[in-house]
């Protein structure tokens, strides 16, 4: 009986997590746009504008290039599907989501990589010059972010002696004194840089650009229209929210439920929404004051992230 109720509890918690990421993603993008516009002295679009845009896109005509193959059709669906699975198994609201044992940092990283790889292939598949250029850049940035991310995972997992994400979060909750060790601070700094690079935000990519030569992510999706574009937009917004959600729960896990009780899930939900909103607003403010770095300097930024993560691992070994 208790196992059945446990399964139902974890299932409901996971459904809550997916729902909050799916709805919260576009809203977070809207909030970040609003903050940027306000600081630029503009009123800016309403916070819910991305949701209105997505609803409209789902009602529009489906358009596919003549030369495109099944990859072009599959990529948006897979992008959303991988993020949904990742959102279901990560400890965003509770440390007991469904498939807790599979909620490994390596699993999450490569789950999200499936979506971005297919999107890069879809950029090539459309057969336009800009699509291929965008894919080549996105893959370059992804390949450079990868080593930094893996060393970050190593640094984060030594505290909990596991790369299982719920175990890491639970370990910090159980040992609050270990929250600000140099090892974790270095690793979380590296993680933030990687998240910014992976989700195509400034200073690596400018999501507001309309100049094809400066585009990275948008160049890949230039050929998408209607419902396909809606899926890509939702998937990207969800991925940003998910990555920030993982980040905030690694930085400050307080508030996340340690069970699947109703009150725990409600508190966990409120806390993760508040924490992600704070980090999102902080990122938006930061973006107003910086410019996009040249593409050839992105490797330096990601090398910096790699060195930070490595420092984290080394300081963890020295402290032992």
């Amino acid at each position: 009986m208790s196992t059945i109720s446990h399964v139902i509890g974890t299932g409901i918690s996971s459904a809550v997590q997916v729902a909050v990421v799916a709805v919260g993603g576009p809203v977070l993008v809207g909030v970040m746009r609003k903050v940027r516009c306000r600081l630029e002295g503009r009123v800016g679009p309403p916070v819910l504008q991305p949701l209105v845009d997505i609803r409209k896109l789902f009602r529009k005509q489906r358009f596919r290039p003549d030369q495109a193959t099944w990859i072009f059709t599959l990529a948006p669906v897979m992008l959303v599907a991988t993020v949904v699975v990742a959102a279901a198994i990560t400890p965003l609201v509770t440390t007991h989501p469904a498939l807790r044992a599979s909620s490994d940092l390596f699993v999450l990283v490569y789950l999200l990589l499936v979506g971005s790889t297919l999107l890069a292939l879809a950029g090539l598949d459309a057969g336009t010059a800009f699509g291929g250029m965008g894919s080549s850049r996105a893959v370059t940035i992804g390949a450079l972010a990868e080593p930094a991310l893996l060393v970050t995972i190593l640094a984060l997992s030594t505290t909990a002696h596991s790369s299982n994400l719920p175990a890491i979060v639970s370990a910090i909750l159980a040992h609050p004194e270990s929250v600000a060790t140099p090892q974790r601070l270095f690793a979380l700094g590296a993680l933030l840089i990687v998240i910014v690079a992976e989700s195509g935000r400034l200073p690596v990519d400018n999501p507001a650009t309309h100049l094809e030569l400066t585009m990275v992510h948008e160049a890949m999706i230039l050929e998408y229209a209607g419902p396909d574009l809606a899926l890509v937009t939702v998937g990207e917004a969800m991925r940003l929210t998910l990555l920030l959600g993982i980040f905030v729960n690694l930085v400050a896990p307080w508030g996340v439920a340690t069970s699947t009780s109703v009150s725990g899930v409600v508190v966990g939900l409120a806390s993760v929404v508040a924490k992600v909103a704070v980090v999102g607003v902080f990122l938006a403010v930061f973006e107003v004051f910086i410019a996009k770095v040249r593409l050839f300097r992105v490797p330096e930024l990601l090398a910096g992230a790699f060195v930070l993560a490595l420092l984290g691992v080394v300081s963890g070994l020295v402290a032992k």
Binding site: E218, E223, A225
Partner: protein, 128 residues
């Protein structure tokens, strides 16, 4: 609708209208308040914003851009030149007005039209 993404096509304009469009989306007039936005691809757009008389070189690209825009779509002719070729009427490089090449849904008069006139027309489409 509440949401309107626009692809801008310069079919042979003197760039007077472009400056007004730039200021429509600038901090002063800020058309993004009403759910309109300029996008980089006609595939992402709901409307095509056309300026200038249609020149020989731009007639085919304009047609292709409008065809590449998914339905339902609107074609907005901005300025007197787009409406009836303006001062360029009868020029040897001019094919005709925008309506001679693609069907126009909304026309905004003016040489160049004031940003408020452009915003008024856009708000008429988004109903906001």
């Amino acid at each position: 609708m509440g949401s309107l993404q626009l692809r801008h096509v310069d079919a042979g304009s003197c760039n007077g209208c472009e400056i007004e469009i730039a200021s429509v989306f600038g901090p002063v007039y800020d058309a993004e308040r009403f759910g309109t936005r300029l996008v980089a691809s006609p595939r992402h757009a709901d409307g095509v914003l056309v300026t200038g008389p249609v020149t020989r070189n731009m007639a085919v690209p304009l047609k292709k851009t409008v065809e590449a825009t998914p339905q339902p779509r609107v074609v907005i002719a901005v300025g007197d030149c787009a409406h009836d070729c303006g001062v360029f009427r009868g020029g040897y490089g001019v094919v005709g007005s925008v309506n001679d090449v693609v069907p126009v849904d909304v026309s905004i008069p003016g040489c160049p039209p004031h940003p408020t006139a452009i915003i008024e027309a856009l708000r008429g489409i988004t109903r906001r």
